[in-house]
Symmetry: C2
Subunit: 442 residues, 2 copies
């Protein structure tokens, strides 16, 4: 079965947005052993859309179309698809009622243009959209299956998983072929090429493979296993995953595409009955924002201080003004005092702090842009670790946040406070050697 | 001039990576008035690549090819391009020496396979790659210009800007034709379909158009104007933008693809010499994180408290425990007390607060999931406004953050504290009517 993913929208061709729908859709197809042969995008232009539909019909068995289902004038997917394959448009009454109900639920009247979203090509099967107003549809034309889905990622993701994948899988399976199973291992603290070198011997067997992908600041591993049956593919995948986890140890923080480091941290804190407070300078609230993105995080996270200005560090975390004067805000003593202050003032088991120079300005010869101190306080003492992350402001802050979250996870797991490999990026002469928390400054 | 962007690589079709090269390349083309008509991707498969090259030659004047220039066996772009258009491969001696020098610089010996990167189709112009081993090339075939570039983003970006754009621009300009200018107007507080209805009369003239795009929680407008000269296109765009801004007023918070609400807020605060502190419950640090993402934000933002637990609201913002007991954390008096507490305790001109039920759990009949109070304190008093945002946790928090940031902007501009239209989403019976800050609770 050959698949094509076709996304539609002027904004794509103008380069206004990065099209992440294509990779999502191809990934989902791969999980049911359907190979994507072509990715295409065209503007909201009827002639180009018609060409794209015609060509897709000649070269693909299944075409996933995303975008152009909205209520506005430039949303043309359904109308052009119908015309391309000589189908009339028919009103789908249940969809019209669903769209009306959707607006009613929010106390609004449906705009006239929204009614357009209830018209489909004759012979099409309508696919429900539980999280938006645009239903999708499946049209079979010239032997090819066209699945039309919304372009809004969260609507697309759900429709793909709940409506489209089962319909494709039902047609793939009877034909036979191997079953594919894969997952994602999320790692933090090791580089992609190091990963590839260290793991290259583990997926050499026929039917096993290992993909690598950097999603800053993490690196993801994708083990893939094939088998004659689902059970066989799953067993081979489990064996491969176990070997990878044994090799990588605590560098793997989670398994599965959906897992996040913040969710792992909240779960570990909750399981241990421990709590944490944050003291953020350069990250400005990012650690708190990540932790509170997890439903139920109030069991383990009580809050913290965003201490961006020095006076806020003094007033709200009890940092001694003398430390700031002597060592500067970006220093080990201040990171330690911030972490301790958060822990004491919020009455938590742990306190975590960040203070750094995320750039683009503010560096000096002694303290370059990119320097950051992360602090951690617990019942047995406190420690701080410095890094120089040579990245732009956004990535500097994201990486610092990840280090802070990972420190909580590592502390709870009894691991060294940082993975030695993050330190590969650190120029010689800045900061001390990596060490375990036991060896930290108390 | 019609352009196509063609990216090559198995990893794209397997959905392992999100292809951000396409949006980069199309954006760069747009800046020199070249419209991208097609995006395509194919696997590292000679037959599919040949088809893609042939088709591109029939429908595009310029084709930007990215990927497949590396040293490995599956890097086939140059060889297949040459074969498709019946060209021999020729060794380009200067490139071979550059590649050898590149390896020497890092103290490594050039691998045999890297020599492959110095072979190009006869008649091609070689494009240097100052940051990698794979040079690019320009081949003109069947009247179409094929620019081959590496897939590694930083190598691609540089080659595009330094080698490719000037060559295309040189060919575009002398030919004449219309010049296109466009920009983006970012709006918050009005729905996409309402926008389209209200603005549909403004871009009816030949050569003007208006696009709409939702980037939650904002809606973006893209006015486009054509003219015979740059001056004419720019003047027409300016006229259209002025008409849009007049119609929309304070719903437009910024102009240009790069502008962010947080940058607008920091700039407005800095210009006015005012400062703000945050008191975040349900947003957990997101407002602080957004504000501190702006370089130079320390001029206007001093910090705040993430008061996720009730005790944190009492201890660190001075919220009266009686208020929490009587009204609950998600209430007008608590939102007001949090905003005032932040302002007073951090010694700032303004304080902004959030307290809400972002879900998925925690709601009740009286206080449903989605309810949120946003508070704002200033020298003249304080006010709070409630909303019910019927979205998932992530979007609830993002929208609440946006409302809080927008309130600062609106206050500084002397505008009503919220755009009346956000309230379209609020079910009847929850909260009071929208009003200006002057009428707020003090």
């Amino acid at each position: 079965m050959r698949a094509e993913v076709l996304t539609i929208g002027d904004e794509l061709l103008r380069g206004e947005i990065v099209d992440s729908n294509k990779s999502f859709l191809s990934d989902r197809l791969l999980r049911i052993d359907v190979e994507t042969r072509f990715h295409s995008s065209v503007r909201d232009d009827p002639a180009d859309m018609t060409d794209a539909f015609r060509r897709a019909a000649t070269r693909a068995d299944v075409v996933l179309v995303s975008g152009g289902l909205g209520p506005t004038r430039d949303d043309l997917t359904i109308a052009v698809l119908a015309e391309t394959f000589d189908r009339k448009l028919e009103l789908h009454e249940p969809s019209l009622r669903t769209i009306e109900a959707f607006f009613e639920r929010f106390g609004r009247k449906m705009a006239e243009t929204n009614a357009k979203q209830a018209w489909f090509p004759e012979g099409a099967e309508v696919l429900p959209n539980p999280v938006g107003t645009a239903p999708g549809c499946l049209l079979e034309a010239e032997g090819t299956l066209f699945f039309c889905m919304p372009g809004v990622p969260r609507e697309l993701f759900r429709m793909m998983d709940e409506e489209v994948v089962p319909r494709i899988a039902a047609r793939v399976r009877p034909v036979g072929g191997t079953v594919v199973r894969s997952t994602i291992l999320k790692t933090f603290g090791i580089g992609e090429s190091t990963l590839e070198e260290e793991l290259s011997d583990l997926a050499r067997e026929e039917g096993l493979s290992l993909g690598f992908r950097t999603t800053f600041p993490d690196n993801y591993l994708r083990p893939v296993a094939r088998g004659a049956t689902e059970a066989e593919a799953e067993a081979r995948l489990a064996t491969l995953c176990a070997a990878l986890q044994e090799r990588l140890g605590s560098l793997v923080y989670g398994v599965g595409a959906e897992v996040t480091l913040e969710a792992v941290v909240i779960a570990a804190l909750t399981a241990a009955g421990r709590s944490v407070a944050t003291a953020e300078s350069c990250t400005g609230g990012m650690i708190g924002a990540r932790l509170t993105s997890v439903p139920g995080s109030s069991a383990a996270y009580v809050g913290g201080v965003v201490a961006y200005a020095n006076q806020a560090k003094i007033d709200h975390l009890g940092v001694d003004p003398g430390l700031l004067e002597t060592h500067g805000a970006v220093s080990e003593p201040v990171a330690l005092a911030m972490a301790r202050g958060a822990r004491e003032r919020f009455g938590t088991d742990f306190g975590v702090s960040t203070t750094g120079i995320s750039g683009p300005d503010g560096g000096s010869a002694e303290k370059p842009v990119g320097l950051v101190w992360v602090g951690f306080a617990h019942e047995g003492g406190s420690a701080a670790q410095d890094f120089v992350f040579p990245f732009d402001r956004e990535r500097h802050r994201a990486l610092t946040t990840q280090v802070a979250l990972d420190w909580i996870r590592r502390h709870l797991a009894g691991e060294p406070r940082v993975a030695a490999r993050y330190l590969e990026a650190r120029p010689a002469g800045v900061g001390g050697p990596p060490g375990s928390d036991a060896g930290g400054k108390t």
